[in-house]
């Protein structure tokens, strides 16, 4: 498949098709707005409709759910693809976008359609079965969206590696720290603070079960954040080691298991689908930021990619150690 095909199919699956679906859904819903009770049912429980709201909420939800991700892909994914970035997650996100917008379009339009001509929102019939069918349609379209796009092998531009030569009898260690960018740190802290606030709110409301659930969630988030935000990288005569705070998680590769080391520029979202300790076909990633990364190709097994400042230097040390071994 040539490069044009990758970009074109990505935009058809991830942007154009969702836009068409969303527009059709919005158009249909708008036509039916006059025939609806006011307010309309917007939430269903086990015993039928149990929540109501204004009819325009459907338009908003359809737009947000149906065109939120596609708009983001259009704004950030497409330009990056055009600049030559490649990665399985572009393909994946486009397929997800199609599935999600299919679900939003069909399910929301269905929920509006069944309420035409009703006296009151409480008369709204159950839509559980229809939602199941919508989920199936969404899944199917998602799969189709994935299948029609060509396979994307992540491409990285290599950074020139420094030159390090080691004399006989010289001992060397390279140490670096992979750190997250401030935006990511802020987002995680905000998430923890919000969950903490939810715990306090539950306590005030006297709902202790919820309070403990939120406290547990805050703890899990904190632990995840610690593992996500920083990793130490060490290169020495034994090989390469990457480890999180508290020595966990940890990946170590012995020098003799290393085929080659290089430095590359990594697009976190494109190549690894996000940040943290990640596994994608063909590579393990310790991805704290986009940018400079050390890539270790194993003799046998997936590559290891770690975003760390000074990666070119680290790669040079690995190569020097290998050359002397």
């Amino acid at each position: 498949m040539n490069d044009m095909t990758v970009t074109r199919r990505f935009s058809v699956v991830g942007v154009v098709a969702p836009a068409v679906l969303t527009a059709a859904a919005l158009g249909t819903q708008a036509l039916w707005m006059g025939d609806l009770p006011a307010p309309v049912a917007i939430h269903w429980g086990a015993n039928g409709a149990d929540g109501s709201g204004p009819a325009w909420a459907y338009l908003l939800i359809t737009l947000a759910l149906g065109f939120g991700l596609p708009a983001w892909l259009w704004g950030t994914g497409l330009p990056r693809l055009r600049r030559g970035a490649r990665g399985w997650s572009f393909r994946f996100l486009a397929a997800i976008a199609l599935g999600m917008s299919a679900f939003a379009a069909v399910a929301m339009t269905w929920a509006v359609g069944v309420q035409r001509g009703l006296e009151s929102w409480t008369d709204a019939p159950s839509i559980g079965g229809a939602f199941g069918a919508c989920a199936a349609i969404a899944l199917m379209l998602g799969f189709i969206g994935w299948a029609v796009q060509p396979k994307q092998k992540a491409v990285f531009d290599e950074i020139a590696v420094d030159e390090v030569t080691l004399a006989e009898g010289e001992r060397v260690v390279w140490l670096g720290t992979a750190k997250s960018g401030p935006a990511l740190v802020a987002a995680i802290i905000l998430a923890i603070v919000l969950v903490g606030a939810a715990a306090v709110a539950s306590w005030v409301a006297g709902s202790f079960g919820a309070m403990w659930a939120f406290i547990g969630l805050a703890l899990v988030l904190s632990i995840l954040a610690m593992a996500m935000l920083e990793a130490d990288v060490r290169v020495d005569a034994t090989g390469v080691e990457v480890r999180g705070p508290a020595r966990f998680p940890r990946i170590a590769i012995a020098l003799e298991d290393i085929a080659s080391a290089s430095a590359i520029n990594v697009e976190a979202i494109g190549a690894f689908g996000g940040f943290g300790w990640r596994r994608v076909p063909g590579a393990q990633g310790v991805i704290m930021s986009s940018g400079e990364a050390l890539r270790i190709e194993r003799v046998n097994g997936p590559d290891l990619v770690v975003t760390v400042p000074g990666a070119a230097n680290a790669a040079a040390v690995v190569e020097a150690l290998k050359a002397r071994a």
Binding site: E170, R171, V172, W174, D236, G310
Partner: protein
């Protein structure tokens, strides 16, 4: 941060470790507040005795470049950070001296005289 020592050198190992860390600090590879690896870990990586590294760390602490705190390990001090700035000035000095066609010996003599 790249630390290298030479086991065939005449210079003592602890002095070499101290010099390597000092250079890393001066070059801004380890900044104020950065944590250095534990003595145990660095000793393992360099294949030297843990006491050699501890000795080097103590020397750096006496120079005020690092703090040694129980539980937190070795941390680069503000002084260490300031030295990195000084090193940038020195690099600048070197560039200007070169542009003026001064010999390294003259520059060194001038710097020595100013101390």
């Amino acid at each position: 941060m790249l630390l290298r020592i030479d086991t065939t050198s005449e210079e003592s190992l602890f002095e070499q470790v101290a010099t390597a860390v000092r250079t890393a600090i001066a070059q801004g590879e380890a900044r104020a507040g950065d944590r250095l690896p534990s003595a145990r870990e660095l000793a393992d990586s360099l294949g030297v005795n843990v006491h050699t590294v501890l000795h080097a760390y103590q020397e750096l602490r006496n120079e005020g470049l690092i703090d040694l705190r129980r539980g937190r390990g070795a941390v680069v001090t503000e002084v260490g950070g300031a030295i990195a700035q000084l090193n940038r000035d020195i690099v600048e000095l070197g560039k200007r001296a070169k542009a003026l066609g001064m010999s390294p010996a003259t520059v060194v003599a001038l710097v020595k005289a100013s101390l």
